[in-house]
Symmetry: C2
Subunit: 317 residues, 2 copies
């Protein structure tokens, strides 16, 4: 049902591979959140991961899985988000070059962040076609290995290490995991871990109502596109790939779609309780859990707070 051969063993291998480079992020709890949802909840705080998001796990696994000759040519991606920074840092740590294709209209701060990690930004027109054509051209010229943000088994296996640590560090066996779904890399890695370690574990996906291609795709039984995504959760505007769709279809119990207003409310409420920054893409998982509070009553729940790269103006409400 998965990509050929992709499973828990790949996540365990990724965990060993990235251990010297990635942080083991902490779990936090909130008695007031537990009271709010009537469950016992452990939050896996990936905002304390390098570059402020889980993306560093998958990027590092991909970069470190390359053979020396292949790696020496460098790596390449197209992204203006956390994956770009994650790949840039992972490449710098290995001492290899990195190219990032980024739309000309990407925020200057994102370009600066990637360049700050030593990568070369290659601007392109702000269309998917231009992005892919530019990436192909850079790849042909440099020989760099293309590392997709989520449509890559090495990336999926790396993202799964967050759930692995969550299950290892939670003081009790968990009944439910809640994870945000964008391109599906983190959710797929989480599914591989849950299926391999505790098949009875219920994995809930969380999506913005304005970018709910995973919910629609699972309902339709085939992968549907995400046209014109509209959500404040900028990390979740992408659509599934065939790889991530196949894994989610096999293992995900449900995808809960939540309106942005609930996401922002959950983000502000939990930020003040946990005292940490929580980006909207993470708060979607919190809001989804709140929406399913009857189903999780009395259960032990793990929530992956995927990152902390939030525009502070969103916190003011």
């Amino acid at each position: 049902m998965n990509a050929p051969g992709l499973g828990l063993a790949d996540v365990l291998e990724a965990a060993a591979r990235i251990r010297p480079f990635a942080h083991r992020t902490p779990l936090l709890t909130s008695a007031s959140f537990d009271a709010r949802v009537g469950a016992r909840v452990w939050f896996k705080c990936e905002g304390f991961q390098r570059v402020g998001a889980f993306k560093f796990r998958g990027a590092t696994n991909a970069v470190r899985a390359l053979g020396d000759a292949e790696a020496a040519r460098g790596v390449l991606t197209h992204s203006s988000g956390n994956h770009a920074q994650a790949l840039a840092l992972a490449a710098r740590q290995r001492g290899i070059p990195c190219w990032v294709v980024m739309p000309r209209d990407a925020p200057a701060v994102k370009r600066a962040a990637v360049e700050g990690y030593g990568a070369t930004v290659v601007p392109c027109e702000p269309t998917l076609a231009a992005r892919e054509a530019t990436a192909r051209a850079v790849g042909a010229e440099t020989g760099a290995v293309f590392i997709h943000p989520y449509d890559d088994p090495r990336v999926v296996a790396g993202q799964g290490t967050a759930a692995l640590e969550l299950l290892e560090d939670a003081p009790e066996p968990l009944d439910v995991l809640v994870v945000p779904v964008g391109g599906g890399g983190l959710a797929s890695g989480t599914c591989l871990v849950a299926h391999g370690l505790r098949p009875e574990l219920v994995v809930l996906g969380a999506e913005p109502a304005g970018a709910d291609d995973a919910r629609r795709s699972l309902a339709a039984g085939r992968r549907l596109a995400q046209e014109d995504p509209r959500t404040v959760a900028d990390g979740l505007r992408t659509e599934l790939s065939d790889l991530t769709f196949s894994i989610l279809r096999a293992h995900l119990a449900e995808v809960v779609a939540v309106p942005d207003a609930e996401t922002l409310g959950a983000m502000r409420w939990l930020t003040q309780r946990l005292k940490i920054l929580i980006e909207p893409s993470s708060a979607v998982a919190v809001a989804a859990l709140e929406a399913r509070r009857e189903a999780v009553a009395g259960r032990r729940v793990g929530v992956i707070l995927s990152g902390a790269n939030v525009d502070l103006s969103l916190l003011a409400g």
Copy 2:
């Protein structure tokens, strides 16, 4: 030079006493902040302490130091800040009553927080005279023990445990500690630890320019009042007591006064790097360190981030 007998031994005793009840808060580092100030800095994150601030240490030490008969009558304070919540929680944990005298015009959210920890709020007119008279009346009626927010050796010793943990947990011996100064409880406890453990350690106090009674008092050699404090750092509007002034005069290297604009700038900058909430009273210490970057160049510095109870609207800038 200190209050009779008050010293490191009291802090060590407090550490043992509060250990079952208080969190050992984490240290965080930021490579980009280190580069910004040219020093190596460890942040002691008291925002993760119970009630979101170091105040729980002193309140717990005071409550737990009481004999059973004395404790049974309960405890009492006047405060609308973190100390009130801290004392309420410490009392509830010991199973004794707690009264908090609070001005009628205190924000409803602060009253609700104290009541949420099971304490009884006694409203009074918003003047110092009314506050003290009401507290005396409640004490006379109930027999409750008054626990001042900082003018109390048990509270000072308890606050010192934050610096003790910081020195124990930092991977290298520190050269400098930076601590905010309001009433001086945290700064005094920090001085006791520094003097007792490493007399060569330089302790810098940090104050808002709009509430700089400690800086003026140390310069004058006598305790001066703080009239009309004006600062966004609401935890630092109070003035020193004779107790805290005597300790700071003996041990503090300098008090650095910083304008609110620098405090808010430091708060927003560091919040985005550390990914945690930092209240303005804590950011004052960060801004003070930035103001003394030439003096601390190349040194190993500990900064006590005293709490995380920040109005999120302040983060937006």
